[in-house]
Amino acid sequence: MEAFSDLLEQLYFTSGTNAKAALISHYIATTPDPDRGWAMAAIAGELKFDFFKRNTIKALMLERIDENLFAMSYDYVGEMSETVAHLWQPETPPSGDVELPGLNEVVDTFRNAKRTEVKPLLVALLDNMTASQRWALIKLGTRGLRIGVSARSIKQILANYGGVPIEEIEALWHGVEPPYTELLSWLENKGPKPDISDRVTFHPVMLSHPIDDDTREKLAASEWQIEPKFDGIRVQLVSAPAGKALFSRTGDDISGSFPDLLDTIDHNLVLDGELLVMHGDKVDTFNQLQQRLNKKKPSAKLMQSLPVAVMAYDLLELDGESLMGLPLTERRLRLTDYIEKHPGERLHLSPTYSVTDVAALEKLHQQVTEDTAIEGLMLKRKDSTYIPGRPKGLWYKWKRDPLLIDAVVMYAQRGHGKRSSFYSDFTFGAWEGDTLLPVGKAYSGFTDEELKKLDNWVRRNAVGRFGPVREVKKELVVEVAFDAVHPSSRHKSGVAMRFPRIHRIRWDKPAAEADTLESVKGLIETA
């Protein structure tokens, strides 16, 4: 555990991908199995269970400190693990050089612990640790490690460590499990390559780049396949002799929420598409899909009233044959063919458009985004093979122009993570008569320089406090950009925004000239 905590500490304060990779490679080379494998899993976000809940940590902490002092500390530090790491005082000071258990032992202990055993185990560990070790343990145990090393980087590091192409690691990754002993032994030339032929595995997906004006204006339109960008979530449907699964685009298995969909597939394939709530051919709003996403075990009634379907746009494998090396046009033919032969309500073929020049493309974008259920256009090179990751120049997304309103800042709260200890989360409102009603919250869109100015403004213009929330003078106008707005019964204003962010700070604009709630409601999407 000491070595793991040291590694995290160093990674946290090291910037630069190469320097981080060097630290991790060194750790892999010098740490025994199975500790090192668990460390890789933790950093790559592959741990599948919490050792303990955040609430357990909080409850233990509140047995040791006044609740209000804890709240004020948390508000300032902006992060639970670090707050607890600093606040924790051992009941009896650690007696000299107590050696902490290894990472594997910690994982094992918590995995096998009975509910009632978790608290005493945790207390014993925290009591014997330094503040940074406590931070590491809490981060690890609640799966909250964010130290600027992505799963992809871990794969790259492993590939370099074993001297194999990253594609080989990518292909194996979702078929092997932590602590990766077989994988590591293969990379060290000490064992055979892990055999994953009998597993239902996620295939890392191909992602697009946002298109910039320059690229778009120079596009040779006829070389591109154009699709609508639906407002759902990207999924991968895998059906193999060994079983079936629905994965999110990051590889999370979300099968449990959608048995109604998986039951209808009985063919050997890997499909890429958009998950939507659909009534026949009619696509419902993202808001409705959200209700399905929130349910880990949906009721029969919910599945009936909000049936889901996949709008398929790519086919990666069919009957055990990989199609990823074929150009998009050919994969599209195979996909069309498959769907025509297997018609049903749960699987639809995503439409495509063809345009001959850029002017037509622009007109198409305008037309398509008039439908508020469509987020924009996808542009895919017809000759593109399926390359996991985000390759350059092959796939683009062209989102609809954001919606904009001028709103008044009402409340501010300190941020988390990188922005902790600065006021960086803002609740803003729109006018109804002469009262302001909150319509959304934004915590991004400004530069670090603007963040400092906003923080300063909040501290100088605070008029009240509700726990960690500061109420401010209703004087500052911000231009808020957002992707969509939905009706919402949970908010007093009756609206909820999607991806609101601060577009511009209008230091100059009087609050009275900000937008009304009525004009916000005028932007609500209709299914």
Binding site: Y12, F13, T14, N68, M72, S73, Y76, H86
Partner: protein, 341 residues
């Protein structure tokens, strides 16, 4: 008479009406007492400044000989009377243990005693006499690190971190961000106390105040201006001190393979360190940590605590829990500037 009837917060800062005296004012005033030389307490342009001799010397070093029309150097523990002869205010300075020359201010008027702590700490610091407990009715305390998350490790522990890093990354120039007044000299002394006897290299902005400290017979060992080093590559494996603002600017690019270090009480909060792209944060503070703030309130044991300069809410709340009457005294101009932490 209760201090609430003769002390108030004005635009320029805290004001004692019967003495016609401001304490650490941020705007030019007729008469001011200055607790110590940090820029968020000491400003140029007053008519008449009362302060310790060391603080006056620091102000002259920073702002020039003409920093005030008139100055009066006060000895610690020697009272002076101000205001109306028949209804005087007595003012006495006491050590605050913060930096060279730092003081607390005791004001006595019509039977009441008010102590303004200025900035203070309780740890060992060979550059100034230790903080003195001054009994009083109202104690105005700073709260720069006024949250229970703040507990500063021993100085030697943090200096060890720097020396260990120097051993591990022996080819890297260790560039340490330190505030020019107080922190810089404290880090140097910490290194010397740990037995580090090699020359320490200084950014030009730190030179004058180090010279001043040495004039007060504070032993800093051999200091070399970075500008005097012809071959900058020879600074690999050496310690260079610079003001925090110089860590990321052009100047530091001439140094070989820099490892960015920063010495400040704020470095305890990870995000703060990362915001500055610090690779090695050292938690070295010239202020009290939370346990020391509580210890001080307990020991001074005033009838009332007024809290200012930092995170007032938590300390007011805690002082109430401890049975003290307490309130926040919000003052403008006092920035919780991370550079002086």
């Amino acid at each position: 008479m209760h201090p609430q009837d003769w002390i108030s917060v004005e635009e320029a800062g805290l004001y004692c009406h019967p003495a016609k005296l401001y304490i650490d004012p941020m705007l030019p005033v007729d008469s001011a007492v200055v607790t110590h030389g940090h820029a968020d307490h000491a400003r140029a342009g007053h008519q008449h400044v009362f302060a310790s001799a060391e603080t006056l010397a620091i102000m002259k070093t920073r702002y020039g000989e003409e920093m005030a029309e008139q100055t009066t150097a006060l000895r610690m523990g020697s009272p002076v009377t101000l205001g109306n002869d028949t209804d005087p205010v007595t003012m006495t300075l006491y050590p605050a243990g913060h930096i060279l020359g730092s003081t607390q201010v005791l004001l006595e008027y019509r039977g009441y005693r008010l102590v303004i702590s200025g900035d203070y700490k309780r740890r060992h610091d060979p550059t100034c006499p230790p903080f003195e407990i001054v009994p009083c009715d109202v104690f105005i305390t700073e709260a720069t690190f006024g949250l229970p998350v703040f507990t500063h490790p021993p100085l030697s522990h943090e200096i060890d971190k720097l020396l260990t890093s120097l051993a591990v990354f022996s080819d890297r120039c260790h560039l340490v961000g330190t505030y020019a007044l107080g922190k810089c000299q404290r880090v140097i002394i910490g290194l010397r106390e740990a037995g580090y006897s090699k020359p320490i290299y200084l950014h030009g902005a730190l030179q004058k105040l180090c010279d001043l400290y040495q004039q007060y017979d504070i032993e800093l060992g051999e200091l070399i201006p970075v500008n005097d080093v012809a071959d900058k590559s020879s600074l690999a494996g050496e310690i260079v001190l610079a003001p925090p603002s110089a860590l990321a600017d052009r100047w530091s690019r001439s140094l070989p393979n820099v490892r960015t270090v920063m010495a400040s009480g704020w470095m305890q909060i990870r995000a703060r360190a990362r915001q500055r792209q610090v690779e090695l944060p050292l938690i070295i503070s010239d202020h009290c940590d939370w346990p020391e703030l509580l210890q001080t309130i307990e020991e001074v044991s005033p009838k009332e605590v007024w809290v200012t300069h930092g995170r007032e809410d938590a300390l007011v709340y805690q002082a109430n829990l401890m049975g003290f009457k307490a309130k926040a005294l919000s003052m403008v101009g006092y920035d919780d500037d991370e550079e002086t932490g």
